[in-house]
C-alpha cells in the first residue's frame, strides 16, 4: 500500500450564524448592557432574522477520509456542501473546530491562480513572488523559471509589468507557476478553466503528468464532471458537510447527480410536477414510460416509449421529440416522431413510439420528452416539455470495448472498404 499522505480524522468546522466580524466595540458594549437590563438588542436591524446566541452552522460535520500517495481525488458536491471549507482547512487558511488533519508533505493550494500578483511588478518578478507565497524558496524558483516561462507562452512579455497583460496572459502565467510547484499534495479548486481551449488542454495534461509520473497527490474540486473524469481516479461526494460517497469516479458522479432512484422508468407528472421543464398551458404530458424493460434495462435497437397527454382543446398533428443526454448534461442527440396521434385529433391521447437507437453505446442516459406541432412553414411550436424517465441501455455490440469517455456515446455503423 502506498504511503499515507493525508488523513482527515473526524473534522468539523462550525461557523457562527448572524453578523460576525462587522461588530464594533461600542455595539458589543451596548448589547451587553441591554442583556443585563433585559432589554432588546439595540444594535439589531429592524426586521432582520435573529439568531440566538450560540446558534451555529456546521459547514463540515465529522468528515474522515484518507488519501495515499499518487491518488487523484475529485471532491464533488452541491453548493454549500462544504468542499471549499474542506480545502481551506487542508491548506491551513483557517483552523478546524474539531478533529485532526495530518499532512505528509508540503501542500500547494491553488484556490485561485495568481494569488499575490502585483500589477507593478514584471512577469518574472511576479513568478518569484507568487512562487515564494506558495512556499518555494528562491533557489527552487531559479531552477524552474525557464520551464515556467516556457509553459506560460508569454516569454515575449516576461519583463513587462503584469498590469499591461491581457487577462489571458495573466492567468496563463499564474497557472504556470502553480503547475510547477514542488509540493507533494496539490489542492485545486476549479482553476483549470483558464485560458483558451488549447491552454486548458495543456493544463489538464500537465496535471495528469505530475500526478501519474511524479507520484503527486491531487485533490481537485470541480463542478465540471468531464474534467473530474479526465483527472481523477477516485471521487468523494460531500453533502451538507458529510461524506456521502467515497469510491470510483463514475459511481460517485452518479451519486452526485442523484441518479440512483429506483423505479424511475415510468413517470406520472401529476405526482412529480418538479420534472416539468416547461409550463404547457394547453397541452400537458400526463405520463411517460419505457416499455420492454427487463430489470430496468433496455436493448438499444428497440426502445418503446409510451406517452399519455391531455389537452384543453383539440390539437392537430402532435409530434414528439425524445432527447438523450448524459448525467452531467452533455447532449447526445434526439429523435422525432411525427403525427403520433395518427390523425385522431382527440383532446386526450396516448401513443407508443418505437426507436432504433442502436448507435447509442451502452450506459445510462437522461431523457427529455417534448411535445410539439409543426406548421406548414416548418417552424415548430412547443406544447409541453418534461424530463423523461432515465434509461439504461445494455447489450448491443461487444466486439470491442467502447471507450465512451474518449470516443463519445454514439457509435456509427461500421465503415466498409469500397
Amino acid at each position: 500500500m502506498e504511503e499515507l499522505m493525508l488523513k482527515i480524522d473526524n473534522v468539523s468546522k462550525l461557523y457562527k450564524l448572524g453578523q460576525i466580524g462587522r461588530t464594533t466595540l461600542r455595539d458589543e458594549l451596548q448589547r451587553f448592557s441591554a442583556r443585563l437590563h433585559g432589554r432588546e438588542d439595540p444594535t439589531k436591524k429592524i426586521g432582520a432574522k435573529t439568531y440566538k446566541i450560540g446558534e451555529t452552522f456546521l459547514a463540515l460535520d465529522g468528515v474522515s477520509f484518507e488519501v495515499r500517495k499518487g491518488e487523484r481525488v475529485g471532491i464533488i458536491g452541491h453548493n454549500g456542501a462544504g468542499k471549499s471549507t474542506l480545502l481551506k482547512l487542508i491548506s491551513r487558511i483557517t483552523a478546524p473546530t474539531a478533529g485532526m488533519i495530518g499532512l505528509n508533505g508540503r501542500v500547494a493550494s491553488m484556490l485561485e491562480v495568481g494569488t499575490g500578483f502585483h500589477g507593478e511588478l514584471t512577469g518574472r518578478e511576479n513568478v518569484y513572488l507568487n512562487g515564494a507565497i506558495m512556499g518555494m524558496t528562491k533557489r527552487e524558483i531559479d531552477d524552474k523559471i525557464e520551464d515556467i516561462i516556457e509553459f506560460s507562452e508569454v516569454r515575449q512579455f516576461i519583463d513587462t509589468p503584469v498590469k499591461r497583460y491581457s487577462s489571458g496572459m495573466y492567468v496563463k502565467l499564474a497557472f504556470s507557476v502553480a503547475a510547477h510547484l514542488d509540493a507533494e499534495i496539490m489542492i485545486m479548486d476549479e482553476i483549470l478553466a483558464v485560458g483558451d481551449m488549447a491552454f486548458q488542454k495543456k493544463c489538464l495534461e500537465k496535471m495528469n503528468d505530475v500526478s501519474k509520473n511524479e507520484g503527486r497527490t491531487v485533490l481537485y474540486v470541480s463542478h465540471n464532471m468531464n474534467t473530474i473524469r479526465e483527472l481523477c481516479d477516485r471521487v468523494i461526494v460531500l453533502d451538507h458537510g458529510k461524506v456521502v460517497f467515497d469510491g470510483s469516479v463514475e459511481d460517485g458522479i452518479e451519486v452526485y447527480s442523484g441518479q440512483r432512484k429506483e423505479g424511475s422508468w415510468r413517470v406520472d407528472y401529476k405526482l412529480a410536477p418538479e420534472l416539468r421543464l416547461w409550463n404547457g398551458r394547453i397541452t400537458r404530458m400526463r405520463s411517460a414510460e419505457f416499455l420492454n424493460q427487463s430489470c430496468c434495462q433496455t436493448e438499444p435497437d428497440r426502445i418503446r416509449l409510451k406517452v399519455c397527454w391531455e389537452s384543453d382543446t383539440v390539437v392537430k398533428d402532435i409530434c414528439l421529440r425524445l432527447e438523450f443526454s448524459k448525467s452531467d448534461g452533455t447532449k447526445i442527440g434526439a429523435a422525432c416522431g411525427f403525427g403520433i396521434d395518427k390523425g385522431e385529433h382527440r383532446q386526450n391521447g396516448e401513443a407508443t413510439v418505437v426507436l432504433d437507437a442502436s448507435s447509442l453505446v451502452s450506459g445510462r442516459y437522461e431523457t427529455i420528452i417534448n411535445l410539439f406541432t409543426v406548421n406548414e412553414f416548418g417552424s415548430h411550436k412547443n406544447l409541453d416539455c418534461v424530463r423523461g424517465p432515465d434509461i439504461e441501455l445494455v447489450g448491443g455490440r461487444s466486439d470491442i470495448v467502447w471507450n465512451a469517455r474518449k470516443w463519445g456515446s454514439v457509435r456509427f455503423p461500421d465503415m466498409v472498404t469500397e
Binding site: 499515507l4 488523513k7 480524522d9 461557523y15 460576525i20 466580524g21 461588530t23 464594533t24 466595540l25 461600542r26 458589543e28 474522515s64 477520509f65 484518507e66 481551506k88 482547512l89 487542508i90 491548506s91 491551513r92 487558511i93 483557517t94 483552523a95 478546524p96 473546530t97 474539531a98 478533529g99 485532526m100 488533519i101 495530518g102 499532512l103 505528509n104 508533505g105 501542500v107 493550494s109 484556490l111 485561485e112 494569488t115 499575490g116 502585483h118 507593478e120 511588478l121 518578478e125 518569484y128 513572488l129 515564494a132 507565497i133 506558495m134 512556499g135 518555494m136 524558496t137 528562491k138 460517497f245 467515497d246 469510491g247
Partner: protein, 293 residues
C-alpha cells in the same frame, strides 16, 4: 465506501482544533525568509513606481517636518533642546531631525503593521504562509526609507561638524545604532501586531491608531529635550519604550546626552514584553481570522 484505517502515520504537519499558547511559528517564518525579501522588494518597487523623485520622497517629508519644528518649537515656543543639564550646544535642526526620523519609522511601521490582516486578506484567504511574514516584511521595507533618512541626517551632521561651533563629536557610541534600530523594529512591530490582532474583530482600534499615535508623539522627546520633563515624572516617562530609543539615538549620534543603563534595560524589557504579547495574540488570531474578518 472506503473505511479509514487506524494507521496514524508519522505526519509532518498536524492541524488540530487546539492551539498551544507558545506555538508561534517562528521556525516556519524563518523558512519563508525568501518571501520576506520578495515582499520587501515588492513594497519598495510599488511605492516609488511612476514617481519622478522616487526614493527622494523619503527625504522630503522629514526635512520639511524638521524645518517646521525648528521654526515653531525652537524659534517661537523656545522649548529646550537639552536632554541633560549643562551647556552642550547642539544645533536645533539636527536635534529635531534625530527625533523625527526615529519617530517617523516607528509610527509608519506601527500604522502599516496594524493593518496586516485587513490589507492582506485577499492573499491570506487563498494561500497559507506564516502570517508573521507580512508585518516583518513591512518593518524591513520601512527600514529602506529610514536608511535614506539616516544618510541625510549624517550628511547634515557632517556639515555642522566641519563648520564647527557645536559640541557634537564622533564617538564609539555610534556603534549602538544597530541595537537601537533593532529595538525600534521590535517595539513598532510588537504594538502593530497587537493592534492588528484585535482589529480582526473590532475595527474601532484601527480608528484609534492614527489618533493614538498623535498623542504618543507628545509623550516622546521629539519636539523638546528631556530636560523639560519634571524629575518626579521621569521614571514613568521612561517606561515609554520609544523615549529611550530617541534619547539614546541622540546620545550616540552627538556623543553626549542622556543615557541611563537602568532606563535603557527597562525599555528593552518593555519592548520585548510588548513584542511577545503581540506574537502570542497574533499566532492565536491568525488561525481563524478569515472567519471573522
Amino acid at each position: 465506501m472506503r473505511k479509514t484505517t487506524n494507521e496514524t502515520g508519522s505526519f509532518k504537519t498536524i492541524i488540530t482544533a487546539e492551539h498551544r499558547l507558545l506555538d508561534l511559528h517562528l521556525r516556519e517564518t524563518f523558512q519563508y525568509r525568501d518571501l520576506i525579501f520578495l515582499f520587501v522588494k515588492r513594497n519598495f518597487t510599488s511605492l516609488y513606481k511612476q514617481t519622478i523623485l522616487g526614493p527622494l520622497w523619503a527625504i522630503i517629508q522629514p526635512l520639511l517636518t524638521t524645518v517646521v519644528f525648528t521654526v515653531i518649537f525652537g524659534n517661537l515656543a523656545k522649548l529646550t533642546t537639552a536632554d541633560i543639564p549643562g551647556d552642550h550646544a547642539v544645533p536645533g535642526f539636527l536635534f529635531y531631525m534625530a527625533g523625527n526620523i526615529c519617530w517617523s519609522y516607528f509610527s509608519s511601521t506601527l500604522q502599516a503593521t496594524s493593518n496586516t490582516f485587513v490589507v492582506n486578506r485577499g492573499t491570506m484567504g487563498k494561500v497559507y504562509y506564516p502570517r508573521l511574514v507580512s508585518p516583518i516584511a513591512t518593518a524591513f521595507s520601512n527600514l529602506i526609507s529610514f536608511g535614506i533618512q539616516l544618510v541625510m541626517f549624517f550628511t547634515i551632521w557632517a556639515i555642522y561638524y566641519f563648520t564647527g561651533g557645536t559640541s557634537i563629536r564622533l564617538t564609539p557610541l555610534l556603534l549602538m545604532l544597530p541595537l537601537l534600530v533593532l529595538q525600534m523594529i521590535v517595539v513598532s512591530v510588537g504594538v502593530g501586531i497587537i493592534v492588528s490582532s484585535v482589529t480582526t474583530k473590532y475595527r474601532d482600534l484601527a480608528m484609534l491608531v492614527g489618533f493614538g499615535l498623535q498623542l504618543w508623539h507628545y509623550a516622546c522627546p521629539v519636539a523638546y529635550g528631556l530636560q523639560l520633563v519634571p524629575e518626579k515624572w521621569k521614571t514613568l516617562y521612561m517606561l515609554n519604550p520609544v523615549t529611550p530609543i530617541i534619547t539614546t539615538f541622540r546620545y550616540s549620534a552627538f556623543g553626549f546626552g542622556y543615557f541611563d543603563i537602568r532606563d535603557y534595560l527597562v525599555s528593552w524589557a518593555v519592548s520585548l514584553a510588548v513584542f511577545f504579547i503581540g506574537l502570542v495574540l497574533f499566532s492565536r488570531i491568525e488561525r481563524t481570522f478569515m472567519d471573522t474578518i
